[in-house]
Symmetry: C2
Subunit: 340 residues, 2 copies
């Protein structure tokens, strides 16, 4: 195997987070972070005729909300970076369409929020954009019928399975100095694909943990930092199984103990003891809604000053699973720092 070529991209003119918004469904609203979300929508149809259109409407509302909070009109915004889990990323396309803005469609599965932030930050740093939106969504009902079973089938879930979050997150980023004293993105790192041969689509935490390990270890190595240099190292949605594997891999291969500073959006969004979610939450909207509605506001309040956000994605499809292919994982990293 070729040597992995992870590399930190330092942003010379660090973009700032102008505002962010996270919107979730009923079950997510009943979880431990219920009070944080900008909106909890009890109707999973979002007033639409299909789950797919419901997800698109949820994403549209979240983007709109983030722009309102940032006091930006679509007309003063340059680009939307978005992607989702639906085949051909239709949730994002139909949502982005309503804003009539230049649109860059991304596919990173559950790593999409980090990927969107990476690409937005690079474009802002280069001067290509002055204001950029990074957004993503997932919906339990679209994911179930596309990747697993029709909801009506009522299939049993294995203990390692994660529950796809109905939720969306959007962040509006501006150029350096657009908001002094705010939260900056000071560095990003695009991940390489890791595949240790996991083939069980009901154990995505295990499939994604090696990629998270790879990205975090490389980021710490190249930045010459240690876990305790961060207030929080936040993974996307490894859930219970993946988080334990991440700790074990980092300990064994790099001698790093991540547990004191680590948390996982898939573990934070649900109460696994009270809510029937098995290994935790998953889906693009999981890390996006937790980051945008909980973590970034905590940074803005000064409760966290340095957060490494590492969203993980399992790059499988229903077809690749049926064809018995293993599940490639990827993890992209975004370093948020509170500007003094």
């Amino acid at each position: 195997m070729t040597e992995k070529k992870n590399r930190i991209i330092r942003l010379t003119r660090p973009p700032v987070v102008l505002a962010s918004a996270g919107l979730v469904g009923k079950k997510e609203g009943e979880g431990p972070l219920g009070d944080c979300f900008d909106e909890i929508v009890p109707d999973a149809t979002f007033g639409k005729e299909s789950w797919e259109q419901a997800e698109s409407e949820m994403l549209r509302r979240t983007i709109e909300l983030s722009l309102t909070k940032a006091q930006r009109l679509p007309a003063t915004t340059d680009v939307i970076f978005a992607g989702d889990l639906q085949n051909q990323c239709t949730a994002s396309s139909f949502a982005a369409q309503t804003f009539s803005l230049p649109f860059c469609g991304l596919f990173g599965a559950c790593s999409t929020m980090a990927l969107a932030l990476c690409m937005a930050a690079i474009g802002l740093d280069s001067g290509a954009f002055a204001t950029a939106v990074a957004a993503t969504s997932s919906h339990f009902c679209t994911a179930e019928r596309q990747f697993r079973h029709p909801l009506e089938y009522g299939g049993q879930r294995t203990p390692s399975a994660q529950w796809t979050v109905t939720g969306a997150g959007a962040a509006v980023l501006g150029r350096a100095n657009a908001q002094p004293g705010g939260v900056q993105i000071t560095a990003v790192q695009l991940g390489t694909i890791c595949d240790l041969g996991v083939t069980d689509p009901a154990n995505m935490g295990a499939a994604m943990a090696p990629a998270a390990k790879e990205t975090i270890a490389a980021f710490l190595r190249f930045s010459r930092t240690a876990p305790d240099d961060y207030d929080l190292i936040l993974t996307g949605d490894l859930g219970a199984v993946g988080s334990e594997l991440l700790y074990a891999l980092l300990k064994k291969e790099d001698g790093i103990d991540l547990s004191p500073v680590h948390n996982d959006c898939g573990l934070m969004i649900f109460d696994r003891a009270l809510q029937d979610v098995h290994a935790g939450g998953s889906g693009c909207g999981c890390s996006a809604s937790v980051l945008c509605a909980h973590i970034l506001p905590r940074m803005q309040r000064g409760e966290l000053r340095r957060v490494l956000f590492v969203a993980t994605g399992a790059l499988l499809s229903a077809t690749s699973t049926l064809q018995k292919q293993s599940i490639p994982g990827i993890a992209h990293a975004v370093l948020f720092s509170l500007d003094n």
Copy 2:
């Protein structure tokens, strides 16, 4: 409808094309551009067990070939931008995985080559990358079974239908001055989504023509240029139906006659009189292979000096079609100029 906000992104340090490669299948090799392609592979399985893996292998070989031609090892390359038409872009993920390089997955349907070039160019301009690969693929057999019918069904095709190209293209880009006298990317423009309500998935040219019109008209307007300032304005794969609509829309709404400088990759790759392709070629690999194996080499030989490449995408899925949604179109533009 909000006013569309297309905007040209001028690259202050224009990235250069270090090399490009285009690889196609048997039918494409029998077309008018047969002599141009780097490789014509008669075996559509590419030695693999499924069409999906075949497409992935084709993309992998094309990326590898482009790096060889650019005299770059994966170890001296910073990132791969790629996407494709397979659900969850698995052709790209499985191909990118073999290079162990940072990977940015994109979804732009048949506009993906232009989108990948846009994002690579912005990242090179910003200094985030020193060498970047932009690549995409499509395969007739994966597209047919995913979007239309099983091949064995032998369904009739309507006259407006296009034939998905089995092909892939990859371009290796370097920073400004990495290759003086070569082909530069001097400007890019991300497209906005246009949807005039076309719902027929067998008429993608019509669905994408409004987006191509929008992007081309905006590019000419904002750059204060006219069609005859270009040696070629090259659309992705509008085919016969879409190209006629593009001319009509530009003439009627903007008073622009595009026909003297326009060509379309979907019309160039096949001989419609001799090959059974109805309205022409389509698929991400159509514009990618034509650009990378025919147009960019022509520029390098000095036969073309200024080419506006506008790849178009139809952002539909089989699900959105079944749900009777219209087909959103998008077109991204890349301006190639020969450095003096």
